[in-house]
């Protein structure tokens, strides 16, 4: 647990702490195998654990820890330049299963995985798994994103939906595109205003971008970043959540959210490591609705405020998705304004 301290601050102390930690970890690895009924899991995140995307992994692992299935250690805000070192440190320290995100360090991370074939790596990545031990996952939650789009398309009165994103990377684009497809299904007249702020962590800027859209008539905001829902709340327009459910914080603003659940992926990885049957695979499908990896958040405070025929349509679509009768198109291209 001391790990999170040194990786976020006190860079000068890092080496000292690290040596001590590595020593402890080696000592732990030297224990006989029967002493380790719990799987030893590590998380390595490039951003703070409050970040929506990472928080889903962290929450799922915390739940597994609370159940007594795993021993969990983690390091946050690890720079990409430092990522490889932390991976090696955990692998050397006897962690059996390592979660993380390697979008910025694909090549290096895959090289590390090759050096530690006995360690299971399950990493957020836009690419394919790598034999024998490097699995990949991503937030493939385009299905609920499509459903939230249907709700947004029905709720807009001005027929303008605003969308503020960080950067147009595949993880962001595919959800935005699915959302837009969903909105267009119920409302062919809807127009989209899209902008990117060029930063992952600048809520004041995201808020300004959202204000600019609301000034131009947007009355439903797609909240990909922190700050967008705040602008919507201040101007009394609606917002659609993404990855996490933010309705408790914005009860009058957030209509619906597309939620990501890492539990199916995490639980599968833990079970296979425990059983000794772990292999490199694509965990993408475990983020689909069918696997319970994503869902549409309950309407909550907006129960009854969304037209009943739309709710029925969304329910029907959801069932079709679960039954495999309807496939949401995965489009990783950069979404463009249609104003």
């Amino acid at each position: 647990m001391r790990l999170r301290g040194f990786n976020t601050a006190a860079r000068l102390m890092r080496r000292t702490v690290l040596c001590g930690l590595a020593g402890m970890a080696v000592a732990a690895a030297a224990l006989p195998a029967w002493a380790q009924s719990k799987v030893k899991v590590a998380g390595i995140y490039t951003v703070p654990i409050e970040q929506q995307w990472v928080s889903r992994i962290h929450t799922a692992l915390k739940a597994a820890e609370a159940r007594g299935d795993i021993e969990y250690v983690w390091a946050e805000s690890v720079a990409n330049t430092d990522y490889e070192r932390v991976m090696r440190q955990y692998a050397e320290g006897g962690q059996q299963l390592i979660f993380g995100e390697v979008f910025g360090v694909e090549r290096a991370a895959r090289a590390v995985a090759k050096d530690y074939p006995k360690t299971a790596f399950v990493m957020g990545s836009s690419f394919k798994p790598q034999e024998p031990n490097f699995s990949v996952f991503d937030n493939y939650i385009q299905e609920p994103a499509y459903l939230t789009g249907m709700i947004a398309g029905a709720m807009t009165k001005s027929n303008v939906i605003g969308m503020v994103g960080g950067y147009p990377i595949p993880e962001v684009n595919r959800l935005m595109n699915a959302f837009m497809d969903g909105a267009k299904e119920v409302n062919p007249n809807v127009k989209f205003s899209v902008s990117f702020i060029g930063s992952w962590f600048d809520p004041p800027k995201a808020k300004e971008a959202a204000f600019a859209m609301i000034d131009r008539g947007a009355d439903v905001m797609y909240a990909e970043r922190f700050g967008v829902s705040d602008a919507a709340k201040e101007r009394k327009v609606l917002a659609i959540g993404n990855v996490i459910n933010t309705q408790p914080q914005y009860p009058e603003t957030v209509v619906a959210s597309a939620l990501w659940h890492m539990e199916p992926s995490v639980d599968r990885a833990i079970a296979t490591v425990k059983a000794g049957s772990y292999k490199a695979e694509d965990y993408g499908p475990y983020s689909h609705m069918k696997a319970g990896g994503s869902s549409l958040a309950p309407l909550g405070t907006f129960e009854g405020k969304v037209p009943a025929d739309v709710v029925a349509k969304v329910k029907a679509r959801e069932q079709e998705i679960r039954d495999g009768k309807f496939t949401v198109k995965v489009n990783d291209g950069e979404p463009k304004s249609t104003m």
Binding site: A9, E50, S195, G198, P204
Partner: protein
């Protein structure tokens, strides 16, 4: 023609000017802070870190139950302390102002997050506070109190620098410290004081982000605003009035690109719009700052009795 009409509509809307003042606030405060330091002859590259610390400290104080204005004071106090550290290293010890400043930035950002994580180890969504609300005034005047404070402080800094003995002392140690010494002034003392005051202003700039513009603290939320302030000081030719103008101009470019993205976003890549404020600022810098006269003793450590 349609685009021209749209651009005109943007520039004439009250919402645009409201956004300009709001976006400008941290730049105004940060630029004033840097300006005070540099007028006393000390470059303070710690600005980015000091802003981050101000953002964290002010927010944390409020989160722990203090009222908003106490949070502002806590932020300013923390900024002054960081200024004291920077000044101690660069003024009496005469260390490189560049290296020390960057060290202060690294320390400020890391320390902020370290403290944040110590206090809130298990946050899964960022905790929030109730920030300053805009005053109930029409049009672009509907700003939070900190924006008014920023504009007011530009006047105060200008008045103090040019109309008071303290300001004269600050300008003197930045231009000709030996002459200041001959007048019986303590160059070290004045410089330390100016750096502390300037750093307090920088911390206020950070606190605006967490107490007014938003309601939570994020590790990277200052996002380079401090570096913009360094450039704005040059743009302003080290004058508070021009600093206010420069900050407003930069904010106007930024507010404008956010709105232009709505109109022409389908035509040009979004990166072009994000680049726009910086590009226009460089252009303005080239045009305006040609005749800028910088403080003669800027970045030159003063050692008593040395010729």
């Amino acid at each position: 023609m349609e685009i021209a009409q749209d651009i005109l509509n943007i520039l004439l809307s009250a919402a645009f000017w409201t956004a300009v003042l709001r976006i400008a606030t941290p730049y105004v405060l940060g630029t004033l802070g840097e300006l005070v330091c540099e007028r006393a002859g000390v470059l303070n590259l710690g600005i980015e870190g000091i802003m981050t610390l101000g953002a964290m400290a002010g927010w944390m104080a409020v989160y722990q139950g203090a009222d908003l204005w106490t949070g502002v004071l806590v932020a300013a106090g923390c900024g002054a302390l960081m200024g004291l550290l920077h000044a101690t290293l660069t003024v009496p010890l005469g260390l490189s102002q560049h290296v020390t400043g960057i060290g202060i930035t690294l320390l400020g950002t890391s320390l902020s997050y370290y403290v944040y994580r110590l206090v809130l180890p298990q946050a899964s969504t960022p905790p929030t506070i109730t920030p300053f609300q805009p005053l109930d005034l029409p049009g672009a005047l509907a700003q939070t109190p900190l924006t008014y404070l920023a504009v007011l402080l530009a006047g105060v800094v200008a008045y103090v620098l040019y109309r008071t003995p303290v300001g004269l002392a600050v300008r003197m140690v930045g231009e000709n410290p030996a002459a200041a010494e001959a007048q019986g002034l303590s160059v070290t003392g004045v410089r330390i004081g100016a750096v502390m005051a300037g750093s307090a202003l920088m911390a206020l700039a950070g606190a605006f982000l967490t107490l007014s513009a938003f309601n939570a603290f994020f590790f990277n939320m200052v996002n380079g605003r401090g570096w913009i302030c360094i450039a704005l000081v040059v743009f302003a030719s080290w004058r508070p009035g021009k600093a206010l103008l420069g900050a407003l101009l930069f904010a106007a470019f930024d507010a404008f690109q956010l709105r232009l993205q709505q109109i022409a976003g389908g035509v040009l890549p979004y990166q072009v719009f994000l680049m726009l404020p910086y590009l226009l600022s460089i252009l303005a810098l080239v045009l305006v700052a040609r005749r800028a006269s910088y403080p003669r003793a800027l970045m030159i450590p003063y050692r008593k009795g040395e010729r």
